[in-house]
Amino acid sequence: MTHPVDILLVVVILLNFLVLGTPALRLTIRGAAVQGAILAVLPLLVHRGFGWRVVAIAFATMAIKGLLIPGLLEKAMRDIHIRHEVEPYVGFVPSLFLCAVGTGLAILFAGNLPLAPEHVGTLLVPASLATLLSGFLVLTTRRKAISQVVGYLILENGIFIFGQLLIEAMPFLVEAGVLLDLFVGIFIMGIVINHIRQEFSSLDTELLSELKD
């Protein structure tokens, strides 16, 4: 627990709980933003030696995940006048409980994985799995489309942490591609949200079931 990376990862896990435990949309967006900003610093610490590539990735991640996307989401939230997630499919306390169980399972599971020696003992894998699970919980239990986007962001953060294991093996282009994918994905979801609002005058994804067939 002495490694600075591990301290940051503990904060990331705690942010998962924050996002899952609050009904305030602004808080969930901010939580995801802070998580993204922390992750931007992560490559600098995991990777020994500051190559220009690592720095570039860090800055791009910070800009997109920490500022650009949360900014977009907050603007959307102000535009459509909603502040709170109401009546999620799974309540806030049960979600916290599930998240805790998931985090525990993630730590157990990570202990059994055959990892490269330099990654054994760090929190990289458990944090990654726990974040993936939390993101997935947000995606499946929340009704509002904005919450879904936040869930998607957190899910991607989990994948990003996992990517740190491979940072030496993975070419720069792949990282950049992932970031671009994420940005485009959020962008499209923003457009979709806008259209849902125009069509149904609500952002409740329950109403989307009318579109089936």
């Binding site: 997935f136 995606l139 499946t140 239990t141 879904q148 994804t205 329950e206 989307l208 579109l211």
Partner: protein, 661 residues
């Protein structure tokens, strides 16, 4: 040199259709495409005939940057025997189709059809040449897809779109079988090239699987019963010259695949031969029985393709059984008969389809019960159609008799053996005879109801505006060429015998029988007796003509059974002619009839209609798909319409996959 000619011809055929896609529709585009098809086919024909006559094997290999693939082509006597009818039929049908499916009625469709016509010709040629599994599959797919666009040439008609969809389904299921076949072949031989199997493999489970997959994939394409169900609708819907090429040559790629595969097996088990003979007999007898029940002229011809494929497969089975029994003369007669019938069926079936196309063009309908009397409008077509009918019924002096003769001889030889061999041959030979007799009955019905009598149609115009009667040279010449080829092969079967024997030796590697094929089957005698028959018929015809020339012909009704006002509706229709025979096969054909019987004196208005649907399609394929659709509808419970639910499915799948791995 021969191989270069064939490859060059293939290229010209394919390239000929391209300018037509870019140029505005019109004479120039049509001439370039038709010219390309004819020129390319003639080049290819020269090469194929050269290879068939000399028997020289030519190989060419170029690298192909795909793992396991190589551009490996080879021209041997077996490929040549399949290439000759391909290029001959493609050339003459292109001339005929350049006019009949022309720009007038179908401006954009005609352009597309000409392009795919060249492409399908080239792809079939490549299928016959390819010696690498992947190259074979690639050519096979190009062929299958171009054929789809040819079947759906008339995009406006719902019938051709439906037929195309059924064909597309069938051809892709067949290709799936072939993917399995080639991967199993690679598993057995360790190579993607078409190399001989190691001895001893054929009898194992792996060998049986290989044979079953080949039978499935190639049998689908050939139209063997019960995998034939795509064939009648597709051939009925396509333009006539396309039906000629498809029925004459394209379905033979399935036969070619079976022959090429069994040629790679050093020790085929006797069961393979038995299986092929059984399937052949079933296809031949039921194919012609279904043909008897048809009202649609082109559908009738398509069912005859099923029948003839059955005869070919029967010959192959007899040949394979001969190889398994170690009797080279049975093998030679069986394989040579089958390969000869491949050539012959290509010639007379395309002749019949071109003739039928002409009739349908003028009548504006394909329903034989509304035709009649076309012998006076289209005398030359009637004559050539009759020639094709004689050939397909296996009557001397034309070529159908010569090839069936070889198959018969192989079976008779085998019937003289003892035990199980004799029994099998003793069942197959009468079945072949039955097929021939039924085919004759069927063509008496077809030719009689189309060309003889008077028109049965109430208004002489058909469903569409009939085109001005008349027989342009571009329509008659192709039929004349094909009929001439039929007559040549019928009168001089000894001429093609060496080429057939060489091809059969490749198809059935192993010890050769004593004596030549021509000697073994006394083909010279067949030729002479056919010639004598022609001379006799000619003499009788001349005698009758001179006898009746004195009396001037008077026009009047035929003897009318005492009716004072005979009408066209009193003639036998094609359905009434075939009704008895269809009744005998009612257990398989399941004919449907509806109507009000005529009961008492001065009967009230009555009507009657009958219909012979495809039993396999109606009772097996369609219900199976209905069941599939029913299951799929039940599966829609899963579609909750909620994003959250779908995400859960994704994760459940992921977790399940993780646990399996």
């Amino acid at each position: 040199m021969n191989l270069l000619l064939v490859l060059g011809g293939t290229f010209v055929c394919v390239a000929g259709g391209v300018p037509g896609l870019l140029l505005p529709p019109g004479r120039a585009a049509r001439r370039i495409a038709t010219g390309g098809s004819v020129l390319g086919s003639l080049l290819g024909l020269a090469g194929a005939v050269g290879a068939a006559v000399t028997g020289r094997v030519e190989t060419m290999t170029r690298p192909w940057p795909l793992p396991g693939a190589a551009l490996h082509v080879e021209l041997d006597a077996l490929s040549a025997i399949f290439l000759v009818p391909l290029f001959l039929v493609s050339a003459v049908a292109a001339i005929s189709g350049g006019r009949s499916f022309g720009d007038a009625g179908h401006p954009s469709d005609a352009r597309r059809t000409r392009f795919f016509y060249g492409l399908v010709t080239g792809a079939i040629a490549l299928v016959f040449l390819a010696r690498n599994g992947l190259l074979f599959l690639a050519a096979w797919e190009v062929m299958a897809l171009s054929a789809f666009f040819l079947i759906t040439a008339d995009r406006q008609s719902r019938e051709s779109r439906d037929a195309g969809r059924l064909y597309l389904f069938a051809t892709h299921v067949a290709t799936l079988g072939l993917f399995g076949f080639f991967s199993q072949l690679r598993h057995v031989t360790g190579s993607t090239e078409l190399v001989p199997l190691p001895p001893g493999v054929a009898g194992t489970d792996g060998g049986t699987a290989l044979f079953a997959l080949a039978l499935f994939g190639f049998g689908f394409k050939a139209g063997l019963l019960p995998l034939h169900f795509w064939l009648p609708p597709a051939h009925a819907a396509a333009p006539a010259h396309v039906s000629a090429l498809m029925s004459g040559v394209l379905i033979k790629t399935g036969i070619y695949g079976l022959v090429r595969f069994t040629s790679l097996v050093p020790d085929p088990p006797a069961a393979w031969g038995d299986a092929l003979m059984l399937l052949g007999v079933v296809s031949a007898v039921l194919g012609v029985a279904f043909a008897l029940g048809q009202h649609d002229l082109k559908r009738l011809l398509a069912w005859h393709s099923v029948e003839n494929i059955g005869i070919i497969v029967l010959g192959l089975g007899a040949g394979l059984a001969g190889r398994a029994a170690g009797r080279p003369e049975w093998a030679l007669l069986g394989f040579a008969g089958a390969l000869f019938h491949v050539v012959n069926h290509g010639l007379f079936k395309s002749l019949l389809f071109l003739g039928a196309g002409e009739v349908v063009h003028v009548a504006g309908t394909r329903d034989m019960d509304r035709m009649g009397g076309f012998g006076r409008v289209l005398p030359k077509t009637a004559f050539f159609f009759l020639a094709g009918a004689v050939a397909i019924s296996g009557l001397p002096p034309l070529n159908g008799f010569a090839s069936e003769w070889l198959v018969y001889l192989g079976l008779f030889d085998r019937a003289r053996a003892s035990g199980a061999d004799a029994l099998r041959a003793a069942v197959a030979a009468p079945a072949l005879a039955l097929t021939g007799a039924l085919a004759l009955a069927c063509f008496v019905k077809a030719h009689g109801s189309v060309f003889l009598g008077t028109s049965r149609s109430e208004e002489p115009q058909g469903e569409v505006e009939p085109h001005a009667p008349g027989e342009p040279a571009a329509h008659v010449a192709p039929m004349a060429i094909l009929a001439g080829a039929c007559a040549l092969l019928g009168l001089w079967p000894a001429g093609i015998a060496p080429a057939l024997a060489r091809a059969a030796a490749i198809a059935a590697p192993g010890p050769l029988p004593k004596g030549t094929l021509a000697g073994l089957a006394s083909l010279a005698a067949i030729g002479f007796s056919s010639l004598a028959l022609v001379l006799l018929l000619g003499a009788v015809a001349l005698f009758l003509k001179s006898r009746f020339a004195a009396a001037a012909p008077t026009a009047g009704p035929t003897w009318d059974c005492g009716y004072s006002r005979p009408t066209a509706r009193m003639q036998y229709t094609s359905s009434s002619f075939a009704r008895g025979l269809v009744g005998y096969f009612g257990w398989a054909l399941l004919p449907r009839a509806r109507g009000v019987p005529v009961a008492k004196l001065f009967p009230a208005r009555a009507h009657f209609e009958s219909h012979v649907p495809d039993t396999v399609l109606d009772r097996a394929i369609v219900p199976a798909f209905r069941a599939g659709a029913w299951i799929a509808r039940k599966g829609r419970i899963l579609q909750g319409g909620r994003i959250q639910l779908y995400l859960l499915y994704v994760v459940a799948t992921l977790v399940a996959l993780l646990f399996r791995v």
